[in-house]
């Protein structure tokens, strides 16, 4: 399994993937036209043909034996540059009176576009059949290695939007109590339009004044900053990297946006460079994947698990298969992360 930039020839496989993602994964609709445009955009990004701040890096996880795509993930270099990027920010307003001997702060939701210009990790999907062998970790963490390698192409901060809390019936209490009053449509429709980048309706219909959270019913308040139960493992993984919830939530479902300074992300801080030496086919190989390796080119970026770490001199010995998987040979440099 290896992660690499998407290419034009992936279109059929990508569409198959899109059909599998289903509801709630709005950034990958089952529309060939949309997907072709998405690939074009990604290819141009990896080839450096668009300015760094406009790039959408879209990766696929490839089963290099079957040629099948196992999953995908993406990094948007700077969100909010082409379409507005909205959040609610949970802020505190002081309400106090000496006269009444009263002092409290009221939580308030402010519409904000504070994250404009930050990087975003997004669109991670792994086919159910491949949910094994730490493939999910590879998909998720390869992005940190990419960002570490091309640090100059990214801004100071990175964020990830987490799916919010829903009832077992698929209803978002946050939407029902708040968004539904302002958007005369179903949650799904609002979510889809947003996924497709058609967000001008948000600015048009969104309440412009802050929302005092005490006015929201408890069910809605409880959604603020809470994730969907299926999203909890992904959130945990991001938290381990140092991403934190700083009070920004999705305007529709109330799910948290976690964020970090890119330089503080553990995987980025702890990744290291090593020289490649292609060695014996029978090198020791850890039973459980523990080391990630990524190449140093952008257009031909590769990332995969390898069987061992570097030696004390900073040399990483690869099996021929591993070297082939990463398209590297002796003398090349790899960025490694123990994880």
């Amino acid at each position: 399994m290896r992660l690499r930039p998407i290419s034009h020839s992936d279109i059929d496989e990508l569409q198959a993937l899109a059909q599998e993602t289903g509801v709630g994964f709005t950034s990958l609709p089952d529309s060939r036209e949309f997907l072709v445009a998405k690939i074009d955009k990604a290819v141009a990004a990896f080839e450096g043909r668009v300015p760094a701040e406009e790039r959408l890096y879209f990766f696929v996880l490839e089963d290099e034996e079957s040629g099948e795509l196992a999953g995908c993930c993406a990094i948007e270099a700077e969100v909010g540059r082409e379409t507005p990027f909205y959040h609610y920010r949970v802020g505190k307003l002081a309400h106090s009176s000496v006269q009444l001997d009263l002092h409290r702060t009221i939580d308030t939701l402010f519409l904000s576009s504070d994250h404009t210009g930050d990087a975003e990790v997004a669109s991670l999907f792994l086919r159910p059949a491949y949910r094994r062998d730490r493939n999910g970790t590879l998909l998720s963490k390869a992005r940190w290695l990419f960002m570490a390698e091309f640090r100059d192409c990214f801004p100071a901060k990175v964020l990830a939007e987490m799916r919010g809390s829903f009832t077992p019936e698929g209803v978002s209490p946050f939407w029902e109590c708040l968004g539904s009053h302002f958007f005369p449509m179903e949650f799904k429709q609002a979510d889809q339009l947003t996924g497709l980048g058609q967000k001008s309706f948000i600015g048009e219909l969104m309440p412009k004044y802050p929302i005092y959270t005490p006015f929201l019913p408890q069910a809605a308040r409880e959604c603020i900053g809470q994730v969907h139960e299926h999203t909890r493992p992904a959130l945990e993984m991001l938290k381990k990297e140092g991403l934190r919830w700083e009070g920004y939530i999705d305007i529709f479902d109330g799910g948290p946006t976690v964020e970090a300074y890119i330089d503080d992300v553990r995987a980025i801080r702890h990744s290291q460079s090593a020289k490649v030496e292609v060695g014996d086919t029978h090198l020791p190989h850890a039973e459980r994947h523990g080391w990630l390796a990524a190449t140093t080119g952008m257009a031909d970026f590769r990332c995969s698990w390898i069987g061992r770490g570097p030696d004390a001199e900073g040399v990483i010995t690869l099996t021929p298969t591993e070297a082939e998987r990463l398209s590297v040979s002796s003398g090349d440099t790899l960025r490694l992360l123990e994880t």
């Binding site: 409290r104 009053h181 001008s200 309440p207």
Partner: protein, 377 residues
Amino acid sequence: MTEQSMSAIPGRQSAGADVRGGGNLLVRPAQSADLAALERLAGNATPKLTNLPAHRDRLEERIARSARAMERNVDFPGDETYTFVLEDLDRGEIVGTASIRAQAGAQDVYYTYRQETLIHASQQLNLRHEVQTLSLSHEMSEVSLLCALSLDSRYRGTSAATLLRRARLMFIAQYPERFADTLGVAFPGYLDDAGESPFWASVGRHFFKQSYHEINLMAGVRSKSFIAEVMPQFPLYLPLLTPQARAAIGREHVAHEQALGEMLGEGFVRSRHVDIFDAGPVLRAERARLRTLSHCGWHPVRIRPEDSLPDAEPAMVANQQLGGFRCTVARYALTPTGQLMLSPMQADLLGVEEGRAVLVAPLALPEVEDALDEGEL
């Protein structure tokens, strides 16, 4: 001049069977001696009134304040409050009180919630969506406010209630420079069966640690600056309030339904504004549009024996004295030359002698032509 030549103003309707001669009711400025009665009236008000706290010191101050206002030369409305009492002379009792605040927000700001409609339109989706909000407003600060009315419950629905309520307009009619061009009346808001305000339960409660009744009391006896500090500063979206709270917006306390109807009949209209604590309605009107003010007129007094007064429609009659203001109910019995006939007792009550002019307005309001809301709501 024979009795036959005396004529009542024609075409006015009777104001109810309880008015007999009318010499038994008198509205006049409150005096120190009225303190105990005021305290009783404040305590018995239904519901309790923010602006009439049953608080002896405050009431004493209120009376003194009113007396000072009556003594001073006033060229434009300021922080004066005029407090009146209704005296039943037959019983020798004070049975009601009512006030006018010359400028609703003179000392503090007078905050209300203003109902507004926001239009959210989306070109992308080709739709237009209206959202209602309540915005904290001080626009009503400049109006003169009729307030703090409490009436002994035995008199409710009688002409005594009407006299007490509208005698203030007779006062305003005579001293226009002391009042704003726009008058307001704030009515207590709707309370549920448990005596709680559903609006407060949905809104104010989140911002105060005190209860509705405590806050109402504080708003009465202390500076109201806490309102600006503690109440939400940004407009509230109505769809986020409870249905009970939404239903209470602009709805008056049941005990005040009739009074509100009478004020609408007087020419007041419902404004966009409601009380910030209980969402009770705030009525307002240009002074010039009120029936009492447009239908009142000056008449010289002619004193006639009680038993020779013709049985005309009842009217409010007020003298011309500022601090010695008196307003009572008499008959709208005019001589052919336009003098108002009063009994010696009535003249005495008003402190007028023959030839002095009194201000007279019919007690029954003329038919309302346009009690609509002026497009305000």
